[in-house]
Symmetry: C2
Subunit: 213 residues, 2 copies
């Protein structure tokens, strides 16, 4: 299992399965069928079974999946059974919003510090803000599992290089550029403008559909 390459499409569905299972658990549901999960995700039941097969199955055919057990398995696969120290680079709008987002801590992702070239506030939502000059010492002292890039586009690539040089192995990138990183560094982009463009594409095409009806 360790060396099996899982497709991007499957990886992107895993958090959604996890979210639905969390929801089902909260509602007191104990068992769920692949058909029900398929319906929630908008895929086929066979796709659900195939997705889970990548990780060895989980379920008893005909009996459905045990919600708590499946959730536990998915948490392990996603690496959610751990705690992560996060730092945020950039204390602008996005950095502030992320620092104030209480949900992450409940999920094991702890924002420990913000860094900015200009320290306007000593803390944001109880999280200390440091000058960028302190970044190297901070990472050496306290470590950093995940660094969030919430800076302007123009400096994001340099910041990423700096983080990698300091040993950071995981970057959550909110700047609208693709970072060029070494193979052993994990990266995930949140592309807000791109998402907005996709919405505008869909709007335009819904409009065309509606007008041609």
């Amino acid at each position: 299992m360790g060396n099996k390459v899982i497709s991007e499409a499957v990886v992107k569905r895993l958090p959604r399965y996890y979210r639905y299972l969390e929801h089902l658990e909260q509602e007191g549901v104990m068992k769920v069928s692949s058909g029900k999960l398929a319906q929630l995700l908008g895929v086929t039941a066979s796709q659900v079974r195939q997705d889970f097969c990548n990780f060895g199955g989980f379920g008893q055919h005909g009996y459905g999946y045990d919600v708590a057990n499946l959730k536990k398995n998915l948490a392990e696969i996603l690496g959610l059974n751990k705690n992560y120290n996060m730092i945020i680079i950039g204390a602008g709008n996005i950095g502030r919003a992320l620092a104030g987002y209480k949900n992450f801590a409940g999920e094991g992702f702890h924002v420990c510090a913000l860094f900015d070239i200009e320290v306007r506030d000593k803390e944001i939502g109880g999280i200390p803000v440091y000058s960028m000059e302190k970044l190297a010492d901070y990472i050496k002292d306290k470590g950093c599992d995940i660094a969030v890039i919430a800076t302007q586009k123009g400096v994001a690539a340099d910041i990423a290089d700096r983080l990698v040089a300091l040993g950071v192995k995981s970057i959550w990138n909110f700047a609208p550029i693709d970072l060029d990183l070494p193979e052993d560094v994990a990266v995930e982009n949140i592309a807000m403008s791109e998402s907005l463009y996709v919405l505008s594409y869909r709007m335009k095409n819904k409009n065309n559909e509606n007008n041609s009806q």
Copy 2:
């Protein structure tokens, strides 16, 4: 062309093409090959040509694509050659961050108002904040091309229903739930937790790879 169904994967690549073309244009590049675009996007050149074929081609084989012209065509396809009035529901961390994000206006997406059940500030970054009670009148008077849901998860579905009842046809959803909307309403989700889970999955698997080397 109007009735051709374009796959989700292609739709998701369109904003990335657009972003690269914008970048190339800023750098003074006039012509770009499918090979170069493929390299930037991490797909094959044949995939790029296939993607563009969905919209009638654009290029002269062997000569590459004219950057300005391709960008203009993509802007039109994405609906970026228009202005959109946006309202944001929820003046919490995310709503505030979006209101303060100046880039959107430059791209034709104008945040005109924020709404919240509790109006703590009369404006945020120059954008007025209104009580939710004023939502219906506001939309009737001023219209709304895109509504952004930046509320807690628990109220997001109700807000979406209310927006749809008021005639809103396009929703950008930041709440971590899938909205159940009529066919003629465009929706796009930004799932931050899911993105973070994908990152944690990748971290875990990079770690395994590195340890097994």
